[in-house]
């Protein structure tokens, strides 16, 4: 199904977040995930369902003032 990852449309065919992320082969060592505007702690990746059109944000550290 189609989901938006960091503003780009991507194809994933996984029902849950953990699978989807692996599918997207993202390096999650220092990342945090938001699904449809809600932060999903790592511990809940496997219980979090993914549906068509979901909006995924993958955030990483950055310099800041």
């Amino acid at each position: 199904m189609k989901v938006i990852v960091n503003g780009l449309e991507r194809e994933v065919n996984e029902s849950h977040l953990d699978g989807a992320l692996k599918d997207l082969s993202l390096d999650l060592s220092y990342a945090a995930i938001a699904l449809n505007g809600k932060c999903i702690p790592k511990s809940q990746f496997n219980q979090t369902k993914i549906t068509e059109g979901d909006v995924l944000e993958v955030l990483v550290p950055q310099a800041g003032g």
């Binding site: 082969s25 220092y30 993958v58 990483v60 950055q62 800041g64 003032g65």
Partner: protein
């Protein structure tokens, strides 16, 4: 002499931003040389090619400093709260530099959304460092919302104008003796930082003034010294300024004193 900040103790009262440095190496050198122990960071989307934090993060982690993630560019409580949650995941800290911008031109904080976000985040156990104005009413609401710390601006972010309204900052210090007060935004020179500490502020947070110096490492050290000097002066009891001149050298016994009236 140590600084108790949000339950932790630090030697340095200088908090350094990590943006705009010529390179991650210069950033890390600046941190080490200035003995800074707390640095601010931010979060952004992962680059498409999926690399994690980039050189910046790999190097910065090794400095084992306390991270203070910010909610830069957020313009509503909603955005700020989500950013705080994500930052807590990434940096594994409940500290958050709460910025809710209300005006793109002056990057002034939005008091309304700021207080709302502070209320929520304090209730969720975050240690909120709110970037605010010198407005006493907003400050009271932030403290009422649970903030133990306030970070009033000296002047607009990145302007380097220093403390444009010393009397307002002085009033904040007088009105919130129990609150940790850190001047954040607008500090451009070590003398500005020293002046803030002389007023009794607990610490200073700055980024541009070091990152944009010709020699950031040296500038970081200059700021570190200035913050120490200002703190030391505050504790040593500054002389009150006087309206008119007062001679320091005693006059009585100068040999020509007769020829002239005392």
């Amino acid at each position: 002499m140590m600084w108790k900040l949000a339950g932790k103790t630090f030697k340095s009262r200088l908090i350094l931003g990590t943006a705009q440095y010529p390179s991650p190496e210069v950033l890390c050198q600046s941190i080490r040389k200035s003995e800074v122990e707390v640095v601010t960071v931010s979060i952004r989307r992962q680059n498409p090619e999926g690399k994690a934090g980039g050189a910046f993060w790999d190097l910065l982690k090794k400095e084992n400093v306390q991270f203070l993630p910010n909610t830069a560019h957020c313009r509503s409580a909603k955005e700020a709260v989500l950013t705080a949650h994500l930052a807590r995941e990434i940096f594994d800290t409940h500290w958050i530099k709460l910025e809710v911008i209300g005006d793109e031109e002056s990057l002034a904080p939005d008091p309304f959304e700021l207080v709302e976000a502070a209320r929520i985040l304090c209730s969720e156990g975050f240690e909120v460092f709110p970037y605010t104005t010198e407005d006493v009413v907003t400050a009271e609401r932030l403290v009422h919302a649970g903030c133990r710390i306030l970070m009033p601006w000296a002047s607009p972010i990145g302007s380097g104008q220093g403390i444009v309204r010393p009397e307002s900052l002085a009033r904040l210090r007088a009105r919130f003796p129990e609150t940790t007060l850190i001047v954040d935004a607008g500090i451009g020179k070590p003398s500005h930082a020293a002046a803030a500490m002389e007023m009794g502020f607990d610490g200073v947070l700055l980024n541009t003034a070091v990152a944009m110096a010709s020699d950031p490492e040296a500038m970081a050290c200059a700021f570190s010294q200035a913050v120490k000097a200002g703190r030391l002066a505050y504790k040593a009891g500054l002389m009150p300024p006087r309206a008119s001149a007062v001679a320091s050298t005693p006059f009585n016994q100068t040999f020509f004193s007769e020829s002239r009236p005392q």
